[in-house]
Symmetry: C2
């Protein structure tokens, strides 16, 4: 039987049927006529390598099975025949066959030789990459979970997408210098599994940073390093669930991205209107929600700084049993006003603080921290452990060095100057090209919000702007309730001249749509 030769039992090019192993094997009766040797395997004696012959042969046979040249139910050539054709010893061929059997690809049959019993199932044709989204499609209907990916993929000359600092000046040299130092002094143990709360050195550096810049005085044991605020929200979900919380009130208007994260976790997001003093606490009480997500230092997207009176009201609400998730996303970016301390500094056991370097250095670093109320620490540590066993250690240690050395503060000062000039340029351009528009919340942050009196839906305006090569968020993306139309313009990544050109294009688009 060793002399019998394989033939394909399915026509060439016929993809194996899902049920092929059993069906085709039954078709492969012993006693098939002698056949074609190994020609159909496209093997070439001259291609046999000097070493690793069995490896090579097994690889070629696997490829033949994957391609369908050696179909399920087909038999392999006899070891004697194949060895002779390729000038190999029979031991090499036997070894290659053994490996295929070990893979589960073939099976020895007493009188049927070695038969192919399993082939890689061909992948369903990958869906075509979607074409560049049409501006209209992007801004039509409820934004989908991948709407930010789609907007990012859209080509544009001027990018006012909010949420990033000026990434062109990321401190590459300082980062590399710190990384060299980290790698030079690192102990081998540090490269193993570590504390899920993060590297102790970074937690110390964050503690110092929070005390210095945000008025929060805690010990490193109270800090959990996370992969940005997005992850902090994901980690909080099981903790909130365990307390019976199924809704987190959010600011109205408020960040669409944040709301999508809460919805993915199955949490309701009752909206609470924001006025010129911050979120309205009477409306918060009326929702009945036991938790609220706030951006008190610089509300997104309105830029409102929560007033002292409103802070006191919020703290009173929290002391009566409410939980405040304080998203301090761009507190360090301020131009025309003194810093406002974090709420967490005032009420440790009812405020969960969330911060990150996304707006200080770069979102792609995926490093942030949370300072939870003490009673949540253990549960959040477990949540982090079972989400990813902790953040990657090298970037944590590099960041710790940048914080310790003052490099991060120097970078932030430099950013402030650049961002302020860019903000001024956008504001001037708005004054010139969008008459009647109102600018909100420009004293701080990385974006400003513009509302306009014309009766033009902001999604239509954003679509028209994108068609003209200008990318921005319609304000209505960040609303759950009806409200004035507007645009959210991130100015940090856009040089002043380009920004002016972009705002001029917005002005033209608005004029056309409202005429």
């Amino acid at each position: 039987m060793d002399d019998e030769v394989a033939r394909g039992t399915t026509a060439a090019g016929d993809p194996p049927h899902p049920d092929a192993p059993r069906r085709a094997a039954a078709d492969a009766a012993p006693g098939d006529p002698q056949g074609r040797g190994s020609d159909f395997l496209l093997l070439d004696a001259a291609a046999v390598p000097a070493t690793g012959k069995a490896d090579w042969l097994a690889g070629r046979l696997r490829q033949a099975i994957a391609d369908g040249r050696l179909a399920v139910g087909g038999r392999l050539p006899s070891t004697r025949l194949l060895a002779a054709e390729l000038g190999l010893s029979r031991g090499v061929v036997t070894e290659a066959y053994r490996r295929l059997a070990e893979d589960g690809r073939t099976e020895g049959r007493r009188r049927g030789g070695t038969v192919v019993v399993a082939a890689p199932r061909p992948e369903p044709a990958a869906p075509e990459a979607p074409p560049d989204p049409a501006p209209d499609a992007l801004f039509t209907g409820e934004p989908t979970t991948d709407v930010f990916d789609a907007l990012r993929a859209a080509p544009a000359r001027v990018d006012f997408t909010p949420g990033r600092p000026d990434l062109a000046v990321f401190p590459r040299t300082a980062w590399l210098r710190a990384e060299r130092a980290v790698l030079a002094e690192l102990s081998a143990d540090t490269l193993g599994y570590g504390d899920p709360r993060g590297a102790p050195r970074l937690r110390r550096a964050v503690t110092d940073w929070l005390a210095r810049s945000r008025g929060i005085r805690v010990s490193p044991d109270e800090v959990i390093v996370v992969a940005g605020t997005a992850q902090a929200l994901a980690l909080l979900n099981p903790v909130l669930r365990a307390e019976g919380v199924d809704a987190v009130a959010v600011e109205e208007p408020g960040s669409l991205g944040t709301r999508q994260h809460l919805h993915y976790a199955g949490l309701a997001t009752p909206p609470v209107p924001v006025d010129e003093d911050g979120v309205r606490v009477d409306a918060l009480r009326a929702t009945g929600a036991r938790a609220v997500l706030l951006t008190p230092a610089h509300q997104f997207p309105t830029g409102v700084v929560t007033s002292g009176e409103r802070r006191r009201e919020l703290l009173r609400w929290a002391q009566e049993g409410g939980l405040i998730l304080e998203d301090d996303y761009d507190a360090e970016h301020r131009y025309d006003r003194p810093p406002v301390q974090a709420l967490r500094a005032l009420l440790a056991d009812r405020v969960c603080y969330l911060g990150s370097v996304s707006k200080l250095l770069a979102p792609a670093l995926r490093i942030g921290w949370t300072v939870p109320p003490p009673r949540y620490r253990a549960a959040l540590t477990d949540a982090k452990r079972f989400t990813d066993l902790g953040n990657p250690v090298l970037p944590q240690l590099v960041l710790a060095r940048l914080m310790e050395s003052g490099d991060l503060e120097r970078h932030l000062r430099m950013l402030r100057g650049r961002h302020r000039r860019r903000r001024d340029a956008v504001m001037a351009a708005v004054g010139e090209h969008l008459p009647g528009a109102v600018v909100h919340g420009a004293a701080a942050g990385l974006h400003l919000t513009v509302t306009y009196p014309q009766d033009v839906p902001d999604t239509a305006l954003a679509a028209a702007a994108l068609a003209r090569g200008v990318k921005c968020h319609p304000l209505s993306w960040h609303r759950q309730l009806p409200g004035r139309p507007g645009l959210v313009l991130g100015y940090s990544a856009t040089p002043p001249g380009v920004a002016a050109e972009g705002v001029a294009a917005l002005g033209r688009a608005l004029r056309e749509l409202s005429s």
Copy 2:
């Protein structure tokens, strides 16, 4: 009223009561006698800085409130008095007071001056750091979720903890070189928010790696970069739940860590015995579970390589509707046998492949990948998006370069040589010091499992070993069902001489316990 002076309404050292704001404020009747000026604030005119005076004063006042020197309900000194005492202009003092009001710390009362209404709640005393765990406590009862943290924290001369490659030879120079190149060529956009599935360049490099070393041929669009296998399991949870899967069968014995991850997600883990051919498919069928987590290339902890016959049975089970989670955790580490291909190469739509660099480079990098069945791709992408918005980009690009340049393969070859020598040393020492013990699964991997005939619980042996300065896992940690006692010895991080000494100590401990 501006002339009135604060006094503390609660005794010094008395921590503010949770309800303090309203209660204490009511106590603070106007018309308190003129008081002590600002002495109690411990302010010193000589300490006033040349610039940033209002900042400085606000900071000192916040500190006084935090310390309780200026208690809730107490009034601030009049601006006139404090300005005179400190040699400041009244405008500076007014500005500092305004900031406290903005914080929500103070409130102006018409006739009561400026009153403190909120103080930072003192943190509950941080729990004492737990003492080094006693060896007995670590190995008593069901292992807790932080058992690996506790074991890591325990001091030891010889560390046989399994699961890490030799971290002393992590390729620091190659890593730094690659990082320099990455930072030099990086576009600013790459530092923003990115594709939640990971950097396209790494997904391409992983695709090539999987084709070359694991026989898996897929496109980069089918790869999702994750923070290690631990995260892949977390991401799969909502996907499995959506299909009504509430149990994932696991190998018996099988990894405790993996089981803890599944349990945290609320999944049951019915055990399926492993024999010398791999997991028993008849027993798998009997559990009724629709998903199973396997380590087919080198079973943890037994080291069994799933046989060809068993692979075929598994694929049949999967084709009938089962889902295989293939944890390919150390497939690249093999010494005495040829590579076995991944199951994912044979059955794309019923096998979800999980791989990582934890055993190739270092666990602390937290980089892995999953190649899911096509129908899970979109849901897993969303799960990754809402868990952390994607892995950090810099380490991804560095790893991609190491894969492209061949540095990773060179590193792996070097590791194989080192690990093989270390394995040989441990095996020789076991032969010498643990007579009657049986070594399992030493042809590959980073650990071996030793069972012994003596009637000594392996937790007692592991505790006695740790008391002698030798760290390892008792085999029973990795069992759900009763079975022979044993130890799991990771040898990769332990030089041959040290390993011999460690095994000798294990031998002495076992003799004492069994006599």
